[in-house]
Protein backbone atom coordinates (compact mmCIF):
# COMPACT_ATOMS: atom_id res chain seq x y z
CA UNK A 1 0.00 0.00 0.00
CA UNK A 2 1.31 3.45 -0.87
CA UNK A 3 1.54 6.15 1.79
CA UNK A 4 -1.42 8.10 0.36
CA UNK A 5 -3.57 4.94 0.16
CA UNK A 6 -2.77 3.94 3.74
CA UNK A 7 -3.52 7.49 4.98
CA UNK A 8 -6.90 7.24 3.26
CA UNK A 9 -7.63 3.82 4.77
CA UNK A 10 -6.70 5.26 8.17
CA UNK A 11 -9.12 8.16 7.65
CA UNK A 12 -11.90 5.75 6.66
CA UNK A 13 -11.30 3.70 9.82
CA UNK A 14 -11.62 6.86 11.99
CA UNK A 15 -14.78 7.81 10.07
CA UNK A 16 -16.24 4.34 10.69
CA UNK A 17 -15.53 4.78 14.42
CA UNK A 18 -17.16 8.25 14.34
CA UNK A 19 -20.31 6.82 12.71
CA UNK A 20 -20.46 3.91 15.20
CA UNK A 21 -20.13 6.22 18.24
CA UNK A 22 -22.73 8.57 16.74
CA UNK A 23 -25.26 5.75 16.29
CA UNK A 24 -24.68 4.46 19.85
CA UNK A 25 -24.90 8.04 21.16
CA UNK A 26 -28.16 8.95 19.40
CA UNK A 27 -29.71 5.59 20.36
CA UNK A 28 -28.78 6.21 24.02
CA UNK A 29 -30.22 9.73 23.79
CA UNK A 30 -33.43 8.19 22.46
CA UNK A 31 -33.43 5.73 25.40
CA UNK A 32 -32.84 8.57 27.88
CA UNK A 33 -36.42 9.74 27.28
CA UNK A 34 -35.68 13.42 26.66
CA UNK A 35 -32.68 13.36 29.06
CA UNK A 36 -34.98 12.39 31.95
CA UNK A 37 -32.80 9.32 32.60
CA UNK A 38 -29.69 11.33 33.30
CA UNK A 39 -27.02 8.58 33.34
CA UNK A 40 -28.18 7.16 30.00
CA UNK A 41 -28.38 10.69 28.60
CA UNK A 42 -24.89 11.58 29.86
CA UNK A 43 -23.47 8.40 28.27
CA UNK A 44 -25.20 9.38 25.02
CA UNK A 45 -23.69 12.88 25.04
CA UNK A 46 -20.27 11.36 25.83
CA UNK A 47 -20.58 9.07 22.77
CA UNK A 48 -21.59 12.00 20.54
CA UNK A 49 -18.59 14.04 21.73
CA UNK A 50 -16.36 10.97 21.16
CA UNK A 51 -17.82 10.66 17.65
CA UNK A 52 -16.84 14.27 17.00
CA UNK A 53 -13.30 13.64 18.25
CA UNK A 54 -13.01 10.63 15.91
CA UNK A 55 -14.31 12.81 13.05
CA UNK A 56 -11.48 15.25 13.84
CA UNK A 57 -8.97 12.43 13.22
CA UNK A 58 -10.74 11.33 10.00
CA UNK A 59 -10.56 14.78 8.37
CA UNK A 60 -6.77 14.79 8.60
CA UNK A 61 -6.89 12.38 5.65
CA UNK A 62 -10.05 13.33 3.75
CA UNK A 63 -12.17 16.32 2.70
CA UNK A 64 -14.33 17.78 5.47
CA UNK A 65 -17.39 18.05 3.19
CA UNK A 66 -17.13 14.36 2.22
CA UNK A 67 -16.52 13.16 5.79
CA UNK A 68 -19.41 15.25 7.17
CA UNK A 69 -21.92 14.06 4.54
CA UNK A 70 -20.94 10.38 4.96
CA UNK A 71 -21.04 10.76 8.77
CA UNK A 72 -24.50 12.35 8.75
CA UNK A 73 -26.02 10.14 6.04
CA UNK A 74 -24.72 6.76 7.20
CA UNK A 75 -25.33 7.75 10.83
CA UNK A 76 -29.03 8.43 10.19
CA UNK A 77 -29.43 5.24 8.09
CA UNK A 78 -27.89 3.05 10.83
CA UNK A 79 -29.89 4.88 13.53
CA UNK A 80 -33.08 4.05 11.60
CA UNK A 81 -32.01 0.39 11.25
CA UNK A 82 -31.16 0.17 14.99
CA UNK A 83 -34.53 1.82 15.77
CA UNK A 84 -36.26 -0.78 13.63
CA UNK A 85 -34.40 -3.77 15.11
CA UNK A 86 -34.20 -2.68 18.77
CA UNK A 87 -37.17 -0.36 19.28
CA UNK A 88 -39.61 -1.91 16.79
CA UNK A 89 -39.96 1.27 14.71
CA UNK A 90 -41.41 0.53 11.30
CA UNK A 91 -39.52 1.72 8.22
CA UNK A 92 -42.08 2.55 5.54
CA UNK A 93 -41.35 2.22 1.76
CA UNK A 94 -40.38 5.93 1.53
CA UNK A 95 -37.83 5.26 4.28
CA UNK A 96 -36.26 2.34 2.38
CA UNK A 97 -36.09 4.49 -0.77
CA UNK A 98 -34.38 7.19 1.32
CA UNK A 99 -31.85 4.64 2.65
CA UNK A 100 -31.10 3.54 -0.94
CA UNK A 101 -30.58 7.19 -2.02
CA UNK A 102 -28.23 7.91 0.90
CA UNK A 103 -26.14 4.82 0.10
CA UNK A 104 -26.08 5.74 -3.62
CA UNK A 105 -24.93 9.27 -2.70
CA UNK A 106 -22.18 8.01 -0.37
CA UNK A 107 -20.92 5.56 -3.03
CA UNK A 108 -21.00 8.35 -5.65
CA UNK A 109 -19.00 10.63 -3.31
CA UNK A 110 -16.30 8.00 -2.93
CA UNK A 111 -16.17 7.15 -6.67
CA UNK A 112 -16.10 10.63 -8.21
Amino acid sequence: MTFAASAQAFAMAWLALAVTLEVIGTSLLKLSDGLKRRLVGALGVLCVVGAFAALAQAIRGMDLSVAYAVWGGVGLVLTAVVGSLAFGQRIRPAGWLGIALVIAGVVALKLF
Partner: protein, 118 residues
Protein backbone atom coordinates in the same frame (compact mmCIF):
# COMPACT_ATOMS: atom_id res chain seq x y z
CA UNK B 1 -40.68 31.70 12.66
CA UNK B 2 -41.26 30.48 16.17
CA UNK B 3 -38.84 30.52 19.08
CA UNK B 4 -38.06 26.80 18.83
CA UNK B 5 -37.24 27.04 15.10
CA UNK B 6 -34.83 29.90 15.86
CA UNK B 7 -33.22 27.69 18.53
CA UNK B 8 -32.88 24.84 15.98
CA UNK B 9 -31.25 27.21 13.45
CA UNK B 10 -28.91 28.46 16.20
CA UNK B 11 -28.00 24.83 17.05
CA UNK B 12 -27.16 24.19 13.39
CA UNK B 13 -25.11 27.41 13.17
CA UNK B 14 -23.09 26.43 16.28
CA UNK B 15 -22.58 22.92 14.83
CA UNK B 16 -21.26 24.41 11.55
CA UNK B 17 -18.91 26.62 13.58
CA UNK B 18 -17.76 23.61 15.64
CA UNK B 19 -17.13 21.45 12.55
CA UNK B 20 -15.24 24.25 10.81
CA UNK B 21 -13.14 24.77 13.95
CA UNK B 22 -12.43 21.03 13.96
CA UNK B 23 -10.84 21.38 10.51
CA UNK B 24 -9.11 24.69 11.24
CA UNK B 25 -7.59 23.43 14.54
CA UNK B 26 -6.55 20.04 13.19
CA UNK B 27 -2.89 20.68 14.01
CA UNK B 28 -3.51 22.85 17.07
CA UNK B 29 -2.42 22.04 20.64
CA UNK B 30 -4.80 19.90 22.71
CA UNK B 31 -6.19 22.83 24.73
CA UNK B 32 -7.30 24.64 21.56
CA UNK B 33 -8.49 21.42 19.89
CA UNK B 34 -10.94 20.90 22.79
CA UNK B 35 -12.85 24.08 21.85
CA UNK B 36 -14.86 22.42 19.02
CA UNK B 37 -15.95 19.67 21.45
CA UNK B 38 -17.29 22.34 23.83
CA UNK B 39 -19.14 23.97 20.92
CA UNK B 40 -20.71 20.63 19.89
CA UNK B 41 -21.94 20.19 23.47
CA UNK B 42 -23.56 23.64 23.29
CA UNK B 43 -25.09 22.75 19.93
CA UNK B 44 -26.68 19.58 21.39
CA UNK B 45 -28.02 21.51 24.37
CA UNK B 46 -29.75 23.92 21.95
CA UNK B 47 -31.03 20.96 19.88
CA UNK B 48 -32.59 19.37 22.97
CA UNK B 49 -34.51 22.60 23.64
CA UNK B 50 -35.73 22.74 20.01
CA UNK B 51 -36.85 19.08 20.23
CA UNK B 52 -39.36 19.97 22.96
CA UNK B 53 -41.60 21.32 20.17
CA UNK B 54 -40.20 20.28 16.79
CA UNK B 55 -40.60 16.55 15.95
CA UNK B 56 -37.29 14.68 15.91
CA UNK B 57 -37.71 13.49 12.30
CA UNK B 58 -38.22 17.06 11.04
CA UNK B 59 -35.37 18.43 13.18
CA UNK B 60 -32.89 15.74 12.00
CA UNK B 61 -33.78 16.23 8.31
CA UNK B 62 -33.38 20.03 8.54
CA UNK B 63 -30.22 19.64 10.66
CA UNK B 64 -28.44 17.26 8.26
CA UNK B 65 -29.70 19.02 5.12
CA UNK B 66 -28.51 22.47 6.17
CA UNK B 67 -25.39 20.95 7.77
CA UNK B 68 -24.25 19.13 4.63
CA UNK B 69 -24.90 22.16 2.38
CA UNK B 70 -23.26 24.52 4.88
CA UNK B 71 -20.14 22.39 5.34
CA UNK B 72 -19.83 21.90 1.55
CA UNK B 73 -19.93 25.70 1.05
CA UNK B 74 -17.49 26.32 3.93
CA UNK B 75 -15.13 23.64 2.57
CA UNK B 76 -15.31 25.27 -0.85
CA UNK B 77 -14.73 28.79 0.47
CA UNK B 78 -12.09 28.18 3.16
CA UNK B 79 -10.48 24.74 2.82
CA UNK B 80 -9.91 24.41 -0.97
CA UNK B 81 -12.42 21.54 -1.25
CA UNK B 82 -13.78 22.30 -4.68
CA UNK B 83 -17.44 21.71 -5.42
CA UNK B 84 -17.51 19.70 -8.64
CA UNK B 85 -20.79 18.91 -10.41
CA UNK B 86 -20.53 15.22 -9.49
CA UNK B 87 -19.91 16.10 -5.83
CA UNK B 88 -22.92 18.46 -5.75
CA UNK B 89 -25.08 15.69 -7.28
CA UNK B 90 -23.83 13.13 -4.74
CA UNK B 91 -24.56 15.52 -1.82
CA UNK B 92 -28.04 16.19 -3.28
CA UNK B 93 -28.67 12.40 -3.38
CA UNK B 94 -27.70 12.09 0.29
CA UNK B 95 -29.85 15.05 1.38
CA UNK B 96 -32.85 13.79 -0.65
CA UNK B 97 -32.34 10.35 0.89
CA UNK B 98 -32.25 11.80 4.42
CA UNK B 99 -35.49 13.75 3.86
CA UNK B 100 -37.24 10.61 2.51
CA UNK B 101 -35.78 8.48 5.33
CA UNK B 102 -37.00 10.85 8.05
CA UNK B 103 -40.48 10.91 6.44
CA UNK B 104 -40.55 7.13 6.31
CA UNK B 105 -39.50 6.23 9.87
CA UNK B 106 -41.48 6.56 13.08
CA UNK B 107 -39.16 8.39 15.50
CA UNK B 108 -41.50 9.18 18.33
CA UNK B 109 -44.05 7.53 20.54
CA UNK B 110 -47.64 8.23 19.35
CA UNK B 111 -48.43 10.77 22.06
CA UNK B 112 -45.58 12.97 20.86
CA UNK B 113 -47.01 13.07 17.33
CA UNK B 114 -49.43 15.71 18.57
CA UNK B 115 -46.62 18.25 18.61
CA UNK B 116 -47.33 20.91 16.05
CA UNK B 117 -45.12 22.11 13.23
CA UNK B 118 -44.91 25.68 14.46
Amino acid sequence: MSFHWLILLAAIAVELLATSALKAFVAAPVLVAVLPLVLIGLSFALLSVALRVIPMAVAYAVWEGLGIVGIALIGHAFFAEHLTVSRILALALIIGGIVLLERGVGHDAPEKDERRLV
